[in-house]
């Protein structure tokens, strides 16, 4: 029964605004071409990820304390996934272990660093730093695909990689939290955490 049909007031290619848009969206308007790129909307900035990766890979480079101000979990997620993938290539399906250990490790480091630092620290910052510093461990597990790490060379390589990861992580934490003179105290728990990851890679 179409007796009381309302006249069509809109235009077919431009939807009428039926709500008040938020300030971010109002800038972009409502056209398809004016929408922001998906990555920008999600907050994934590849340039920043690359910068932080370079900071981790270059152990002697002085870390800028402000680089960890933005909590970026996209990079760490990618690295955890890559670590699990390299373990998969070596025949170990241990994604669950990787995520579980990283979650518990982040929680432990969060409690410890909150107790040890003058200013507090957020959980996102901790997770971000520890995730980025997992990158050398991916090199170790890549190496484990081809060679067995249970020999003397494997032990030396594992120890070196653990040292590299924990040194980078402690360097970034020290500069971000202004804890002078306590780098060794922060590096040791990081070394224990990365040691557990290395244990998964090696055995």
């Amino acid at each position: 029964m179409m007796q009381q049909q309302q006249p069509y007031t809109g235009q077919i290619y431009q939807p009428t605004q039926t709500y008040t848009p938020t300030s971010a969206q109002s800038f972009y308007g409502s056209n398809f071409e004016d929408e922001p790129p998906l990555l920008e909307e999600l907050g994934i900035n590849f340039d920043h990820i690359w910068q932080k990766t370079l900071t981790v890979l270059h152990p002697l480079k002085v870390a800028d304390g402000s680089i960890m101000n933005e909590t970026d979990l996209a990079g760490p997620m990618v690295f955890c996934l890559a670590f699990g993938a390299t373990l998969l290539l070596a025949g170990k399906i241990q994604f669950g272990y990787v995520y579980g250990i990283s979650a518990i490790g982040c929680l432990g480091m969060f409690c410890l660093l909150n107790l040890m630092s003058m200013t507090g620290v957020s959980f996102g910052c901790i997770a971000s730093v520890l995730g980025y510093c997992l990158l050398p461990m991916i090199l170790l597990s890549t190496f484990a695909i081809v060679f067995s790490l249970q020999g003397m060379m494997g032990i030396i390589l594992t120890a070196g990689i653990i040292g590299w990861c924990s040194f980078s992580a402690s360097k970034i934490f020290i500069s971000a939290l202004a804890m002078e003179g306590q780098q060794l105290l922060v590096a040791y728990p990081c070394a224990l955490l990365y040691g557990v990851f290395a244990l998964i890679s090696v055995f």
Binding site: N114, M152, P189, L192, G195, V196, L199
Partner: protein, 342 residues
Amino acid sequence: MSAPGAAAGGGRSGTAADWGGFEDNMQGGGSAVIDMENMDDTSGSSFEDMGEMHQRMKEEEEEEEAEGEAGAAEEEDGEFLGMKGLRGQLGRQVADQMWQVGKRQASRAFSLYANIDILRPYFDVEPIQVRARLLESMIPVKMINFPQKIAGELYGPLMLVFTLVAILLHGMKTSDTIIREGTLMGTAIGTCFGYWLGVSSFIYFLAYLCNAQITMVQMLSLLGYGLFGHCITLFVTYNIHFHSLFYIFWLGVGGLSTLRMVAVLVSRTVGHTQRLILCGTLAALHMLFLLYLHFAYHKVVEGILDTLEGPNMPPFQRVARDIPVVSNAVLNTTAKAIALTL
């Protein structure tokens, strides 16, 4: 016969509203004839009827009151809130208030008990201090006549417990220990933290009984640093498999750290019996724990050597170091003979 019945029936119907129960049993005004057909079968006494009448009257009153109340409440609600038929609005408000009070109380309790800031002073250390305390934990003090100072710090002990967990995990992995009903990580963490917290609490309780001057944090700190000897012993003996080496380390390194803890406790306790109880318990538990860790979490050598393959043998693992490359059978029999003699 019908006239008194009629009179009684008439009299009864006249007063049925007030005292109907009585009328069933009471006879008419002065009549000696009982009208059986008007007798109520169930009423043996007048109390039940009275009770029924009262109940009926009460129900009627309640209904009236309820209707009156509902009307009054609705009127109140209507006047107060300007909406009709919202008798549940009051209930909702009360429920909302209760929820908020409960939430406030829960968050206050949480912030009181889960406040980890109370542990902040125990983590304020320098690397130099930690290193000094680690080395001191292996040196027994000589002066037991006045109370020795114990550092009330929790960073070092916590890191040592985690190190012990890592060493245990490493030992379990290299010996392919299989844990049913659990995980390797869970077992290692449970054992180490259980020992540290449980034995500290137990010794603190004994110290309270024996009147020793020590606080809980100091006890945790003392026992935690005492695990340094355990870490060294296990790290060495999980990688170099000689039983005699383990016993030397057990007595030497384990004994030194136990002696240090015992000396500190003796300096803080008065009385021979009390000292004996406290220090004997601690020494026994500490030494036996090291023995347990070695034997429970790392398979003994014989079991591993049986599974070795000759050409694929990794260079450093599970082989006695000063034996030249010989055939597998000779290696196995030699190892078995050594193990049997120990």
